[in-house]
């Protein structure tokens, strides 16, 4: 008998982290933030796209060789085809590997993969390959569409796509049934392929929720590009190369807000609240998800703008419009997201990820062992060491916080006029400490 949980995939959840650990982490976050503001460097260190070190020539040749790129594309396409077989023809059971692949390997797995190897999703993306093959078949150029992509749309399509994903994952009561995943992915495929036909393949960099997410996380890896050449950079220097575009704040707000909501919706106060409200559960959850994402977006925007700027035009290089600040600072939320995602999803990825790899051997749930992983069993070592797990979770959150504060500081002193350097950062610091403290609070089980 295989059971479908009320909300999404997954069995047991992590134990709440102990209160003393959470308080210690919050205090550390607060003291470090204060130190960064008071003591850190006063001239920007990361803003002029640090050159970085050239990657070894052999590695650069391999990564940039068309043959290697085609190997990755074919791998991505074959694996997608294999999972699509399970998705379309496999039985509608929670152990159908299509579900685990979609919610665990793709959505959660893309974070460590991009952190280690850079923009991997772009290299594997089956929708990119489909676009490329279509262009080849029609002798067109995959890069150009009917019209150029309008710059003012920026990352907004990706923000919408990400919100569509988290709604499917966290709100849709049918999320663990194949039908809803089929529908979601069919819509995704259609939007991607048609969008690329209209705008060219720039569409994927702006609208594909998975690729945009992966590309942003990859900015925290050591892999970067300088005039097209593969270089190694420190993650903070690499992070500063995120191009600010309209909608970047919305993207980070959806990523952070939705993960916070995922923690919050399992707490007893929320479950009771849903019961007391007595409305449709789906509607209540959808509104709450929107409120969480909106709250992150609004607090961040307000904090980024809570500074003095020079209004005189032509007053030097610190001449920046206040309304442009949120998108210019939004990259600094990425480490906070990665830290919190690590804390929130680590056991889920390790344990559900193993289940999925085992299930992948049996896509029709008929006892096959096609990939040879079918006889493996899940190792629950991590769950059996809850103290270690709690320390890892807290370290991830604090590390993300520190990197976020440093990235915001470095950008702020390059943008703000000298007399606003300190006061102009206080709002952002407060908001970031707020995010971290809320994250720790949710990891305590939101008691």
């Amino acid at each position: 008998m295989f059971l479908v949980p009320l909300h999404g995939l997954g069995g047991a959840k992590d134990l709440p982290i102990p209160l003393p650990l959470a308080v210690a982490a919050a205090t550390a976050a607060l003291v470090i933030s204060f130190c960064v503001l008071a003591l850190a460097w006063g001239t920007p260190r990361y803003q002029d796209a640090r050159p970085g070190r050239l990657a070894p020539a052999a590695l650069a040749r391999l990564v940039d060789s068309p043959r290697f790129q085609w190997v990755l594309r074919v791998l991505g396409l074959v694996f997608t085809g294999y999972v699509a077989w399970a998705l379309v023809w496999g039985p509608d059971l929670v152990i159908n590997p299509a579900l685990g692949t979609f919610y665990v390997l793709l959505w959660v797995g893309l974070v460590p993969a991009s952190l280690l190897f850079g923009p991997v999703l772009r290299a594997l993306s089956p929708v990119r390959t489909v676009n490329l093959l279509l262009a080849k078949a029609t002798r067109g150029d995959p890069a150009s569409g009917l019209i150029p992509y309008p710059a003012r749309l920026g990352y907004w399509p990706a923000a919408v796509g990400l919100f569509a994903f988290v709604t499917q994952e966290l709100v849709n009561p049918q999320s663990a049934y194949l039908g809803s995943v089929r529908l979601w992915l069919a819509a995704y495929l259609a939007v991607m392929v048609i969008g690329a036909a209209v705008f060219g393949d720039e569409w994927f960099e702006r609208a594909d929720p998975f690729e945009v997410y992966s590309n942003l996380v990859a900015k925290l890896s050591v892999w970067g590009r300088r005039q097209g050449r593969l270089v190694l950079r420190s993650p903070l220097a690499n992070l500063a190369t995120v191009t600010p575009r309209p909608g970047l704040v919305a993207v980070v707000a959806v990523l952070f807000g939705s993960t916070a909501f995922d923690s919050y919706k399992d707490t007893i106060p929320w479950q009771r609240f849903v019961l007391e409200v007595g409305l449709n559960d789906t509607l209540t959850n959808a509104v709450a998800l929107l409120v969480f994402c909106g709250a992150v977006g609004l607090t961040f925007t307000a904090a980024a703008m809570s500074t003095g700027v020079d209004r005189r035009t032509g007053s030097g290089d610190s001449d920046v419009r206040r309304s442009a600040l949120p998108d210019l600072l939004a990259h600094s939320v990425i480490p906070i997201i990665v830290g919190y995602i690590t804390a929130h999803y680590l056991t889920y990825l390790v344990e559900q990820g193993q289940s999925t790899i085992i299930q992948l051997s049996d896509p029709m749930v008929s006892g096959d062992n096609l990939l040879g992983t079918g006889t493996w069993s899940v190792n629950y070592w991590l769950s059996f060491h809850p103290s270690l797990l709690a320390v890892v979770q807290v370290l991830a959150v604090v590390t993300g916080h520190v990197l976020g504060v440093v990235a915001a500081h470095d950008r702020a002193i390059s943008l703000l006029p000298a007399r606003h350097h300190v006061t102009g950062q206080i709002g952002m610091l407060l908001v970031m400490v707020g995010y971290t403290v809320s994250g720790l609070y949710l990891l305590m089980g939101g008691l």
Partner: protein, 124 residues
């Protein structure tokens, strides 16, 4: 600058303390009572469209049996979202089911008929 830092520091401290205090007051963790043979027991009552408790958090010990005593006016199923998941059937009247959870974590026990969380077992 020092005044600003001071203000900022105090504000943050207040925020942390607030978060710390918030966690103390509303904790309603229950230690389950023991039956005559010393087995932790949780009472669950179904009546029409309602179930009691409605999402209580209960601390249980990993590897030790937990008895669920279910009083119901009609039969149904409870779903235990451990890894792997388990399903417990109950009939009208009183049903006793014993489960043992080996792996530390938080395990939801839900009624899918009512779409409600009944208890959250905190396995330590």
């Amino acid at each position: 600058m020092s005044r600003v830092s001071h203000l900022c520091f105090s504000a943050l401290l207040a925020l942390v303390l607030l978060a710390g205090c918030g966690s103390d007051e509303s904790t309603d963790e229950v230690t389950p009572k023991k039956d005559d043979s010393g087995v932790a027991t949780i009472d669950i009552t179904f009546e029409g469209d309602t179930v009691k408790p409605q999402g209580a958090r209960v601390e249980v010990v990993a590897g030790e049996p937990v008895k669920l005593r279910i009083d119901a006016d009609q039969g149904g199923e409870l779903h235990v979202h451990s890894s792997p998941e388990q399903e417990l059937e109950y009939s009208a009247g009183t049903t006793e089911q014993t489960i043992t959870l080996d792996q530390p974590g938080v395990v939801d026990v839900e009624s899918h008929d009512l779409e409600q969380l009944v208890v959250q077992l905190e396995v330590r």
